[in-house]
Amino acid sequence: MSLILSVQDLTMHYTTRKGDVSAVDNVSFDLEKGQSLGLVGESGCGKTSIAFALMRLLPENGLIKDGYIMLDGKDVVAMDYSELLKVRWRKMAMVFQAAMNAFNPVYTIAQQITEALELHLGNISPTQARERITDLFKLVGLEPALMDRYPHEFSGGMRQRAVIAMALSCSPDIIIADEPTTALDVIVQDRILKQIRALQKELNMAMIYISHDIAVIAEVSDRIGVMYAGRMVEMADSRDVFEHPSHPYTYALMGAFPSIKGKRRDLKTLPGEPPDLLNPPPGCRFHPRCPYATDVCREKTPDFQPMDGVTRNDLSHGHYIACWNPLKGVAL
């Protein structure tokens, strides 16, 4: 299978008055055509910053310090504005977190999707645009007659569907979904998740799905990347992550997550809080909270490397981990 996206050693800082915040540090991952990668981690772990860096939508104080983002053989980091316009929405589209704020309240949904179509596809007639929107609305399970309504006339679930329709409008190869269901009720969330997953498979799109909720990630991802304090700490196929969590943080995250299925097991607490990224701890950033930390963890940053020692061409397969003392065969 061919790679569609390759991120290498991405490092990103936010400059603030207090100093540089090391939001993303040396993150690498690869994405195959049609593959869905779930990025999971707590607030401030850098998952949303990665999404914004991929789209080059970072705020002014967000600087990509190092690394490259190869999309179809071109480096997104080096692109100028006109090149970005060609890539955004057509190659890579984003489904934003706050559906309430993703639309302008004074324009109808159809006007806003038309605007995106015109900007990214160039000359498109109003009739063509409406035809396209009709198709898109059907695709995401919305009544096409609703396209001339204003965002406030939509419920939260409908609005999220409209955001997805807009993201799909230029048939992107990659869709980046940043917590698209976080504000929704569980029944609506379930429907949207199923819809996203079905569309992703049907249209054979690659997807990067970002969430703090490991249960949601488990539902939509072929592959899972676990992030902590700006670094990727573990990445593997979904089943592998759940069956053999090897980084102590992955293990702790899963042990802390309550489930309604199965026997009620005791939840495990993780002591402490995530570090301040203005002054991240030296060595492994997880070491202050890690029960297995040794001297080497406090001094040297562990490399992100394959568990089995096999070198592969890319990171789209295999089990990778950044840890000096990985767990082996610990039952949850």
């Binding site: 707590e42 569980v186 029944i187 249960a215 299925k261």
Partner: protein, 337 residues
């Protein structure tokens, strides 16, 4: 019915009877409201001493309104809230007024969802936590300081003296929620309404706060009404769960029983929609039609009628079904069970 009418054998700490809250819509200063939102409509439940009840439902189902009535932040439209308390005896909270209300606030406290909103940014942690003692006129300054320090230690803000004179913006979300818990516990309440206390917190922080709340419940013999949209959290916090839909309780029973054998079609749909943190598990899909509406002047039929996969004429022609024991204390409000 008044307080004396409850039988002496009633051991429940809190007993809610026919509780209602109707909000007027469309009314004005000189104009009567034409319609009402039936936010809470004829709700009955009991919480035993030392046990916690989870109130679960989607946004807009009336769970927060119920909680606020129990803390008397809303006045009920109708109904009774009996508190059977060692200090106060049996009182109907729906009817307490004036100074009695102040005494009652000593016994019932509330923890809010958002620790960024619920703490005054201009007051130190000490000021925030000590306020209930000051309002109730308990102890002198030295005693109060001692109590605050002890409690901060208990909620894990140690060492207490380094936290006492900090401001909320210096604390993380988890620490702030611990302050809110300390404030609720400082006057030894018998009962705490906790409205989504952990939903704003990150996973690794959340479990710590949940475990703290459980430890404190055991230590101080306090009961919670735990309001949440997350069934998985309710499973870990509560002995019993009540499921609410558009102002009505539709199902109520012991937690594990509810999760293993949900009987009401809404509960079944709700449980089947919860994602499972395990890619090997395939969930069975139970979908219900449409979306949640607002209960504005609802017609006299089952509230779930429009979305229910099992609904028939009986559900349409009769009023909302009563919450009945379908065996072993498993209460369900459905004609089709």
């Amino acid at each position: 019915m008044n307080a004396e009418a409850i039988t002496m054998t009633d051991t429940a700490l809190v007993r809610v009877e026919a509780l209602k809250k109707h909000f007027p819509v469309g009314g004005g200063l000189f104009r009567r409201a034409k319609s009402h939102i039936y936010a809470v409509d004829d709700v009955n439940f009991a919480i035993q001493k030392g046990k916690s009840l989870g109130l679960v439902g989607e946004s807009g189902c009336g769970k927060t309104t119920t909680g606020k009535m129990l803390a008397r932040l809303h006045d009920p439209t109708d109904g009774h809230i009996f508190l059977n308390d060692m200090e106060l005896g049996k009182v109907d909270l729906a009817e307490v007024k004036g100074t009695q209300l102040k005494t009652f606030r000593r016994r019932v406290q509330m923890i809010f969802q958002d620790p960024y909103e619920s703490l005054n940014p201009r007051r130190t942690i000490f000021d925030t936590v000590v306020e209930p003692l000051a309002v109730q006129g308990i102890g002198d300054l030295i005693e109060r300081e001692e109590r605050v320090a002890n409690l901060l230690d208990l909620v894990g803000l140690t060492p207490a003296d380094t936290f006492m004179f900090r401001f909320p913006h210096e604390l993380s979300g988890g620490q702030r929620q611990r302050v809110a818990i300390a404030r609720a516990l400082i006057i030894n309440p018998a009962f705490i309404v906790a409205d989504e206390p952990t939903s704003m917190l990150d996973v690794s922080i959340r479990i710590g706060v949940m475990q703290l709340m459980q430890e404190l419940a055991d230590r101080f013999a306090v009961s919670y009404l735990y309001i949440t949209h997350d069934l998985a959290v309710a499973r870990y916090m509560c002995q019993d769960i009540a499921v609410m839909y558009l102002g009505k309780l539709v199902e109520m029973t012991e937690t594990e029983e509810l999760l293993a054998h949900p009987l009401h079609p809404y509960t079944q749909a709700l449980i089947s929609a919860v994602p499972i943190p395990d890619p090997r598990v395939q969930r069975e899909a139970i979908d219900i039609k449409g979306g949640i509406a607002q209960p504005i002047d609802p017609p006299a039929r089952c509230r779930f009628y429009d979305r229910c996969p099992r609904a028939d004429n009986q559900c349409r022609d009769n009023d909302h079904p009563p919450l009945e024991d379908k065996g072993g204390g498993h209460m369900v409000a459905c004609y089709k069970v």
